[in-house]
């Protein structure tokens, strides 16, 4: 077994929008081993949340991750409301679902564009991101900001959806529906995309369950698991929707799952708009409120997968302990399996396929396949043949 040739992807790399560092042990064009080192984004959020009041924490939780900020907000707010046994008006629940689904559309379209960029199809990237501006305008219309919309708050929702907004929303959604259908056709029969996506980054259903994968990565391996359906929160039990699954188990399946989820989300928003109950949107809550003692587990289906928050409160105005586990972390052992045995050229697209969001992930870090340490449970022995590469270059990362 000769010396392998370490190719660092990151921490600064055009493929990755965020700093994570994957040390790929490669051999010619094949990836033999993956050793990842994240932790670049670790800002010590959980410690900071322990000495801020519940209202102050609203602003930190929202900025754990810029793309799924609303999921973190909904999860946090739901957690505190459950601890305080607070009932929020039904209209607020519907508005929260609308904003959550709009964010899913925005996050999936963003991801689709970046994935197209990963395989070098920049034209599709620019087209998708141009159409994504429609969603950003809708979000700006409702909440006043393109990202970090701060709609949910403890006790309900901050801003109401007026009839004019509703008209605007419906118009925007119709455009989005057509465009997403068009992109679905492209992704299904554009040969150059299929060539880079079909059969790439395989994750068998058994591996997916065993490695506790979550979200679209899990559903692309044929397993029907979605927190909105299994453990419905806010208004999801009153909204008919269908959990999208594909059983191709590869990158193309993950593309299709996300596109169908965008179409599903659009239908859900239209359903919500039709059945929006009247009434107040918020229940008044004292700013320095005390949360009674207890512990709460709150789960939400973020665009990237199951997001879980765990609150332990000792009856003060500040949480005693607040634990956040973001969906991307759940998928990292799975991505490590997918990367092995593939090409360097596939690394960006396979990595992008789990839609990594390392700003959330830096709650916890990564799973380390040591080159020299064989692991009890590494599945099959990797095919190894080394060609002799010298390793004297100065850039050798520690």
């Amino acid at each position: 077994m000769g010396e392998e040739f370490l190719v660092p992807i990151g921490p600064q790399h055009p493929a990755l929008k965020e700093p994570e560092n994957f040390m790929l042990t490669v051999d010619g064009e094949y990836v033999v081993d993956v050793r990842a080192r994240i932790g670049y984004n670790h800002r010590g959020i959980e410690k900071a949340m322990e000495d801020r009041t519940y209202i102050q924490n609203l602003y930190i939780v929202e900025r754990v991750c810029g793309i799924c900020s609303d999921s973190h907000m909904t999860c946090y707010v739901q957690c505190v409301e459950e601890a305080m046994d607070l009932e929020i008006p039904e209209r607020a629940e519907y508005i929260r679902v609308i904003v959550a689904e709009l964010e899913r559309i925005h996050s999936h379209l963003l991801w689709l564009g970046v994935a197209a960029h990963e395989i070098g199809f920049d034209t599709l990237f620019f087209y998708i991101w141009r159409d994504r501006e429609v969603v950003m305008d809708l979000l700006e219309l409702i909440s006043g900001n393109r990202v970090n919309y701060a709609m949910p708050t403890i006790g309900g929702v901050r801003r109401d959806i007026t009839p004019e907004m509703e008209k605007e929303l419906r118009k925007g959604l119709k455009i989005l529906y057509e465009r997403t259908e068009y992109y679905k056709q492209i992704c299904l029969n554009e040969k150059t995309i299929l060539q880079r996506a079909v059969g790439v980054g395989i994750l068998t259903p058994r591996q997916a369950v065993e490695l506790c994968a979550v979200g679209p990565t899990l559903r692309a391996s044929g397993i029907k698991s979605d927190v909105r359906a299994d453990d419905p929160y806010i208004a999801y039990d009153r909204i008919p929707f269908e959990v999208v699954t594909y059983d191709w188990c590869d990158v193309a399946a993950r593309v299709m799952v996300r596109i169908d989820e965008v179409l599903e989300a659009i239908k859900m928003i239209e359903y919500c708009l039709d059945h929006m109950p009247r009434g107040p949107i918020r229940v008044k809550v004292p700013v320095m409120m005390k949360v009674p003692e207890g512990e709460v587990v709150s789960r939400v289906e973020a665009p990237r997968g199951e997001l879980i928050h765990y609150l332990v409160s000792r009856g003060g105005i500040k949480p005693y302990r607040y634990k956040i586990r973001s969906p991307t972390l759940g998928n990292i052992p799975a991505v490590c399996e997918m990367l092995k045995g593939g090409y360097i050229a596939d690394v960006p697209i396979v990595l992008a396929a789990i839609d990594p969001c390392f700003s959330c992930t830096d709650r916890i870090v990564f799973y380390d396949v040591g080159k020299d340490k064989r692991w009890v449970w590494t599945h099959e022995q990797l095919r190894r043949y080394g060609i002799e590469f010298y390793k004297r270059n100065r850039g050798e990362v520690r």
Binding site: L6, A15, E118, G120, T123, F126, Q195, P348, R394
Partner: protein, 333 residues
């Protein structure tokens, strides 16, 4: 004291020579970027000069003024030689292609073979430059560009030899002239044989364009500098003046490719009388640049193994079939 040497000296330096190539290369880069941007529904360079036309010039001057870093571990010779060679080779090749009149400045029998030898040399130079930069990304980029070169070089050569065999000469300028006469005679009295040759030559043109795309490392064959995988491929480590030369070299390679396409397939710089040949040359090469740029915007990037497999499975057999058709025609004509 005859004026001959002075005129040729002037020609070399000024019109179809360095100054013209330099300006035309930058102009073609602007055209390329604008079309690429327009196809992506955005503007592209707009504010430098009229409609952004001076943008490539601004990039070039800025790069000249930047600090030029040579990595400590790189071996100096290979690292500094590469940019210079990368620019001069396409520049010299430009003199083999007819620009001003029907004959190129340095046209001689067999210059088509020289052209192919030199283009392979470019890839060799790229490999040396990549290897000497000792940065992992460049090494992988250099390997890929060599790998890719192996797969497209032969079919490209075959595609170019088509017209040469028909014209029974290996001098590019003569091929261009032969085409012009063939075209005139065909227009005079169209024969079924003429139609067949036209179809075969058009097929050759398509093959040649595909080969050119791979040679110029444009998407979908831009794997050696695949931005998302290996940062900037083989020229990751270059900066400042060296990078300026490399980028200019790429542009000159672009117009050389385009002018080769016009000379071999579109009849070189000659056209109906009122417009001078030089303008015809510019019109035709611009057409080819626009073609390359649109192709560049329509595809995703292939993986290196797919390119190699696809080239050997489809591209080489097609080129061989094309050659057989050409030989059959040659016998008949």
């Amino acid at each position: 004291m005859s004026w001959e040497p002075v005129i040729t000296a002037l020609e070399i330096v000024l019109f179809p020579g360095f100054l013209f190539i330099f300006c035309y290369a930058l102009f073609c880069e602007w055209v390329d970027r604008r079309i690429f941007a327009r196809l992506q529904n955005r503007y592209g360079p707009l504010y430098t000069g009229w409609k952004g036309i001076l943008q490539p010039l601004a990039d070039f001057i800025k790069l000249l003024a930047k600090e030029d870093i040579t990595p400590g571990a790189a071996d100096k010779a290979g690292f500094t030689a590469t940019p210079i060679l990368f620019l001069t080779i396409p520049m010299t090749l430009m003199f083999l292609v007819p620009v001003l009149g029907p004959r190129a400045i340095a046209a001689f029998e067999g210059d088509l073979i020289v052209v192919f030898f030199m283009t392979t040399l470019i890839n060799l130079v790229v490999f040396i430059g990549a290897w000497s930069a000792t940065n992992r990304f460049t090494v992988v980029g250099g390997m890929r560009s060599a790998l890719q070169m192996l797969s497209y070089e032969i079919p490209l050569g075959l595609a170019a030899l088509g017209p040469a065999v028909l014209a029974k000469t290996l001098c590019i300028s003569d091929i261009a002239q032969w085409e012009v006469e063939a075209w005139k005679s065909f227009l005079a009295h169209p024969t079924p044989l003429g139609v067949v040759t036209a179809v075969v030559l058009a097929f050759g043109f398509a093959l040649f364009t595909l080969g050119e795309l791979a040679e110029l490392e444009k998407i979908p064959f831009d794997i050696p500098e695949a931005e998302t995988e290996i940062v900037a491929g083989w020229h990751t480590e270059y900066s400042g003046k060296k990078l300026a030369l490399i980028r200019l070299g790429m542009d000159v390679e672009l117009i050389f490719g385009a002018s080769l396409m016009t000379a071999l397939f579109l009849g070189g710089p000659s056209g109906p009388w009122p417009i001078p040949p030089a303008v015809w040359f510019i019109v035709k090469t611009l057409l080819c640049v626009v073609l390359i740029s649109t192709l560049r915007a329509l595809f995703a990037r292939f993986r290196i193994d797919q390119v190699v497999r696809w080239m050997w499975k489809y591209y080489v057999p097609l080129a061989v079939v094309y050659m057989i058709a050409i030989q059959a025609l040659a016998v008949v004509i």
